[in-house]
Symmetry: C2
């Protein structure tokens, strides 16, 4: 018997396969030997060829079965829908300020400062130095490079008014604050458990929380921050053990809590034996005011402090710190080690290099005046060109204005209209853990082409009036 | 009334605080005014001072309460234990090969290749180039830098025998394969659901799985890989929809599946409408054999392929790819975006730079012969000095030998004895998803001071015989 026999067998079996449902048993090797008067080796060769083409499969000790003749159709992944079941997360990162608008659009949309506001020369030379250091080829400890841990601890300790100041071992280095939030929510709250959050608040925190499966409980927060009495009731009602908040220059509202409010909120948190996750995202973006962490007044492990360098140093140096004490620290570290093992030592060394240069402080001072000028230009532009958009608070720091739009505004349509006129806005981002409390738009004054804010405001104003 | 009144009130209240339980209500402002004949302002000043010292707290509209006089004692975080409840993860990264032995110890312990086996010059110059590029200051798309996605897709496509070859959009760039595993287990399996894993298998995967709360189902796997019939039964029994495996140079066993076994396993996976997570961790560490991904034969989205550059390029360039198709890809991307937002563009650009240099292939060839020599030296040293440790398989690639030790071995004691004699071993790492099948030790031949393998083997042999 020759190869032609093998081909004949293949042809015959292909016909069977084409006319059978997947999973149909094929004639046995023995019967094929008889039918084609072929050797077992030839039959085996034919079966192997069909198997390699994905048309059949052999189940050892049972027989050979048709798989599917569908390989000539477009690949079909529909089986995955059944295998995967329902999805947990409704929010996605798709409709968020991470997406980049077209290159020729103006933008009030992005969440990160444009490269012109970053300490570019410091970053490039720090990375260059790190490339020649040991950190380029080594594997750092899971908690982080000790020198960088020390730097973060010292920064917080310098603002400390409590009797217990943070030390290097209280610091866990994270690959960005998003990972920090994910680890905290997953390891300290857990799926199905309640988490109090300001409403509105940072969309990334809401995303991380939903991804961890926690139940979001809104605590209304406006230009003055949350009401301590309402917060206390929300703790009582929900049984929550954690409150996520941004006490300084909250994203998106820009609110900064007064010293008295900070004290009251901390008291409420203590009284409920709960955690306050303090996201100090805008620590380097003070304008008239500076960020004063609530964590600096905590001496019994109630505040979990997150401080990132990603936004102020460079989006490529994804390095953040979580500072906390007690068993909570150990749980977060165990979770983050399981999730990410460790943070690139190269990025850690470069970030530390940047923030320990004298030029870093010079940069921060110049950034302060640039942000001030940008904020004021955008406010005056909006005032002149888009008076329909109401600003409830002139933020004393941060990167954003929080605009209240007329109730009839269709945010999706507004976003489309603006984009058509050459302006990207973040109209479809949901900043609310439950229903939005109104029609709001966050506009960012740290993006590119800030000189054209008047034009951006004009486009927004026209789009608002055309609704 | 002067400040002395205020001090007197403070002194009086401190006595009350010291003798009261936390939460005791203090005399009202009005009664203090009467008692001390002080103005309300003076009383308020005293209360504020005590509040700043953390000794009291005021509940608006209710009164002022003692907090705790315990601030002079060491900080007490015991309230956290109640707040946090029981912990989910039993495994921790603490007792793992990430820990570094003392500097003067020999080591068969570490999981990463020592710097001498890394393409140091390529890494340093790639990072240096990246420091001058746009990637140093920019924020890349959530899925990864398109050029790096394309590189990973092309590498897998070149080995492809299926009818559907992977494309750039099938690739998700991850901050290391640990993050990839975490995302896959969390988004596609989920807490409480079953996951089949080889037994033994990589401890990091077990850690990621337990952290995601999935239920581990062991499938026994030795020098020949898993038995397809047993795998099929395990799918039937458990209802699992996913099997995590390392078909090439498995960690720790070193097993490489034959082509026939790969085909059979893939058929079992297909028949159960399930996913195979193929962790191709040793793709760059072939010795006699090369890694041939099972993913290259998959054309209907059953294989989720993970390929990391961290181990072979540099531990500081934490970049890995997950390649998969269909709804599974979207779920993984949504999860990883929520967990980590994006991977540093600097690391992505530098990693791509390294693997696209002609010198990268030269490096891989030289690495192959270095690994071969190291492996053979360690095998012959163990044979001569520690014949009690049986090697079941000479691995054709990877970084490890998997040794079976006598049944009476106390692994904890062995680890201590070896460390005392100057050798770090990973005796306390648990490679088994359930009970260990025997006394085993993984030894790594990619660590530092390989010329001293004979001495390392001598220490191990003596420690074994002393038990």
């Amino acid at each position: 018997m020759n190869n032609d026999s093998s081909s004949q067998i293949v042809e015959k079996l292909k016909k069977i396969i084409d006319s059978s449902a997947p999973g149909t048993r094929l004639p046995s090797t023995r019967s094929l030997v008889t039918e084609f008067q072929a050797s077992p080796v030839t039959v085996q060769k034919a079966l192997q060829s069909l198997s390699m083409q994905g048309l059949i499969e052999s189940r050892p000790g049972i027989g050979t079965f048709t798989r599917s003749s569908g390989l000539t159709r477009p690949a079909d992944y529909s089986w995955q829908s059944t295998a995967l079941g329902s999805a947990r997360t409704r929010r996605t990162a798709a409709a968020t300020p991470l997406g980049r608008p077209g290159n020729d659009s103006l933008s009030l949309h992005h969440g990160y400062p444009e490269p012109g506001l970053l300490p570019s020369r410091l970053v490039r030379s720090a990375v260059n130095r790190a490339s020649r250091s040991e950190s380029a080829l080594a594997c750092p400890p899971p908690g982080g490079l000790p020198d960088l841990q020390r730097w973060f601890a010292r920064e917080l300790a310098e603002q400390s008014i409590g009797s217990v100041t943070p030390t290097a071992k209280d610091v866990i280095i994270m690959p960005g604050s998003q990972s920090g939030l994910s680890s905290i929510f997953a390891s300290l709250v857990g799926a199905g458990q309640p988490l109090l959050v300001e409403s509105p608040t940072y969309w990334g925190a809401l995303l991380a929380a939903e991804n961890a499966g926690v139940q979001l409980i809104p605590v209304s927060s406006g230009p003055n921050g949350p009401d301590p009495v309402e917060l206390s009731k929300a703790f009582d009602r929900s049984g929550a053990r954690m409150f996520y908040a941004q006490p300084n220059f909250a994203n998106p509202t820009g609110a900064q809590w007064t010293a008295a409010l900070k004290e009251q909120i901390l008291a409420v948190v203590r009284r409920h034996s709960a955690f306050l996750v303090e996201d100090d995202w805008a620590h380097d973006f003070g304008i008239e005011s500076s960020s004063i962490p609530l964590a600096a007044a905590d001496d019994s492990g109630h505040v979990i402090y997150i401080r990132s360098l990603t936004k102020s140093v460079s989006p490529s140096l994804r390095v953040a710190a979580v500072i906390t004490r007690g068993p909570a620290r150990d749980r977060i570290l165990a979770n983050t080690a399981a999730e990410a093992m460790y943070v690139s030592g190269l990025l850690q060394a470069a970030a530390l290099d940047v923030v320990t240069q004298p030029a870093w402080n010079t940069h921060l001072r110049s950034l302060r005046s640039q942000l001030s000028a940008r904020r004021d230009l955008l406010i005056s532009s909006l005032h002149a060109e888009a008076p329909e958009a109401q600003l409830e608070l002139v933020p004393q720091g941060g990167l954003n204005l929080w605009l209240r739009l007329p109730e009839h505004t269709d945010l999706k349509l507004l976003t489309q209209d603006c984009l058509r006129a050459g302006l990207a806005i973040a109209g479809e981002v949901n900043w609310f853990p439950a229903e939005p409390a109104g029609k709001y738009l966050r506009v960012n004054y740290a993006g590119e082409r800030s000189a054209e804010f008047p034009e951006a405001a004009r486009i927004l104003g026209e789009a608002l009036r055309s609704q």
